[in-house]
């Protein structure tokens, strides 16, 4: 029991630190990616190639004066970013980061917990994530913040539906809600889910962009319209929490996308690779992170390419295109499964 608790605590701590680290370096990555796409260099003066840039940003924000506007509700003002950070970090619990590591006689799975409704848990946490933005935007007592908060909430609620429907089709195919089982299926049962659910993947991906408030769905914070959106009034580390939460969300979304549709930690042609035991587990984890990093890059790539939607167009896309498509996807999946005799 004790080893179990220690092992789980260590795993939680590692996942927590990795989330923070990846998020921090995602900010650096974002700046570099943007710079390269724009024929620039990006940060290169803080340390070699500017790799200390995130540390500098973090320390600076940490040491900056805290301003809580006098008119705002102090408790809610602080609660907002905390909630954003909390919900961002929570979803990482059910993601399988790798196979089972053998130390001595024991096997230690690299997943904090594999609850049998894992995907629903992720979904629940995501649906809760909107509160951080809403409360922060409301407590700022600023019109721009409020507009950002309202936009964020309606956007996230709308896209959750399509996201859920996309997952339904996937669940129909896999027959399980557990992320661990889904990964296992993809490892042994041949193809990755992307092959069976290309449309579902596309819908899920688009919704993931919307849920993380990334371009082209970055309306809640778009600079040219709402100054900073919901975080306009925030300074110092509370702002840092919001910015961080966004990148953690990207990280977790990438991890979930890889898990659901790209075989999780499975290597392609795994059975032909002459690796076994812990080495295989390590290779798998590394490969999983490779996938995750690719998706983080993809998020940035899209952001620095295309313009953003307008509020009503975003709603149109969500309700009039994605939801019908997702329903169609469910139908098609059902029909195909029936026709192929899989039911």
């Amino acid at each position: 029991m004790l080893t179990f608790i220690i092992y789980k605590s260590i795993l939680v701590l590692i996942v927590f630190l990795i989330s923070l680290g990846v998020a921090a370096y995602a900010t650096y990555g974002e700046r570099k990616v943007a710079a390269f796409m724009q024929d620039r260099i990006g940060p290169d003066r803080a340390g070699p190639f500017g790799i200390f840039q995130p540390l500098a940003d973090g320390l600076k924000m940490f040491m900056k004066e805290e301003i809580i506007p006098t008119v705002s509700n102090k408790f809610l003002f602080i609660l907002g970013p905390s909630l954003a950070m909390l919900t961002a970090l929570m979803a990482g619990v059910v993601v399988p980061w790798g196979g089972k590591l053998a130390i001595g006689d024991h096997y230690y799975p690299l997943q904090i917990t594999d609850i049998n409704i894992g995907i629903l848990y992720v979904f629940g946490v995501v649906s809760f994530g909107v509160y951080g933005i809403m409360i922060g935007g409301w407590a700022s007592n600023n019109k721009y913040s409020l507009l950002g908060a309202l936009r964020a909430s309606s956007q996230m609620i709308s896209y959750e539906i399509a996201m859920g429907l996309a997952i339904v089709a996937l669940v129909m195919k896999t027959g399980t809600l557990s992320l661990g089982e889904m990964v296992a299926q993809q490892g042994t049962g041949g193809w990755w889910n992307i092959v069976y659910q290309p449309l579902g993947f596309l819908i899920f991906l688009i919704c993931a962009f919307a849920e993380t408030n990334r371009a082209p769905f970055d309306l809640p914070e778009c600079e040219t319209e709402l100054v900073g959106g919901y975080h306009t009034e925030y300074s110092s580390m509370k702002l840092g929490f919001y910015l961080f939460a966004e990148y953690i969300n990207i990280f977790i979304s990438s991890a979930v996308i890889s898990t659901l549709y790209f075989g999780g930690f499975n290597l392609p042609f795994q059975s032909h690779i002459p690796l076994d035991g812990n080495w295989l587990v390590i290779a798998q984890t590394a490969f999983f992170f490779g996938k995750v990093i690719f998706f983080i890059f993809f998020f940035m790539w899209v952001r620095w390419t295309i313009p953003r939607f307008r509020y009503d167009q975003l709603m149109n896309l969500g309700w009039k295109i994605l939801i019908p498509l997702a329903i169609f996807n469910i139908l098609a999946t059902g029909v195909l499964m029936y026709a192929l005799g899989k039911v």
Binding site: R31, A35, Q38, D39, R40, I41, G42, P43, D44, R45, A46, G50, F52, Q53, L55, A56, D57, G58, L59, K60, M61, M63, K64, E65, E66, I67, E223, V227, G228, H231, T232, E233, Y234, S235, S236, L239
Partner: protein, 184 residues
């Protein structure tokens, strides 16, 4: 982090000698470095200099290299107020309000002749230099300055930020400076 406050003014402290003092100064240095490399500018661009600032942001000069490409249009999040272009008397109070809204530590960069002194616009409607309403740290001459000069200015601000003690903003000298401008 050092826990005990140093009674005398930090500038009297011999630099990095022993114990607490050493620790404090090296923390100062680290913080200074961090601040210097992460100056988020608030571009208060009103006219021609704003276009040159765009050029500074753009690929050829790339302000991002100095860690300053994240423009924060919200004064709360900015470290560096870049005043670019003519500030008329009508605009003055707004500029001042923006300055007051900024969180410490904050620096002000006055870019170009108009912002620094009024330039050719020695007219009834133009403020003859923003240093009449807010304290300015670095002036950049030119009308508009070349991007090189803007980068020089940023580098100078970085030097200021690096060498600044953490407690400077609480020091009576700093308060007196702000009081001169009637800012609390």
């Amino acid at each position: 982090m050092s826990t005990t406050a140093i009674d005398i003014h930090p500038s009297y402290q011999p630099e990095g000698l022993e114990g607490q003092g050493f620790f404090a100064t090296s923390l100062d240095k680290v913080v200074g470095l961090a601040r210097a490399n992460s100056l988020w500018p608030l571009p208060f661009a009103t006219s021609c200099c704003g276009i040159e600032f765009m050029a500074t942001m753009a690929s050829h000069y790339d302000l991002a290299r100095f860690g300053s490409e994240r423009l924060s249009f919200s004064p709360r999040q900015a470290d560096l107020l870049m005043v670019m272009g003519t500030i008329s008397k009508k605009m003055g109070p707004i500029l001042r309000q923006v300055y007051e809204q900024m969180a410490e530590p904050k620096w002000v960069l006055s870019m170009g002749a108009c912002a620094s002194s009024g330039g050719i616009f020695d007219t009834y409607s133009v403020l003859q230099g923003i240093d009449r309403i807010i304290p300015v740290d670095v002036y950049i001459p030119g009308c508009p300055p070349r991007p090189e000069q803007v980068l020089d200015g940023i580098l100078q601000i970085q030097k200021l930020a690096e060498s600044e003690e953490r407690r400077r903003r609480e020091s009576p000298e700093y308060k007196a400076l702000l009081a001169q401008y009637g800012i609390e």
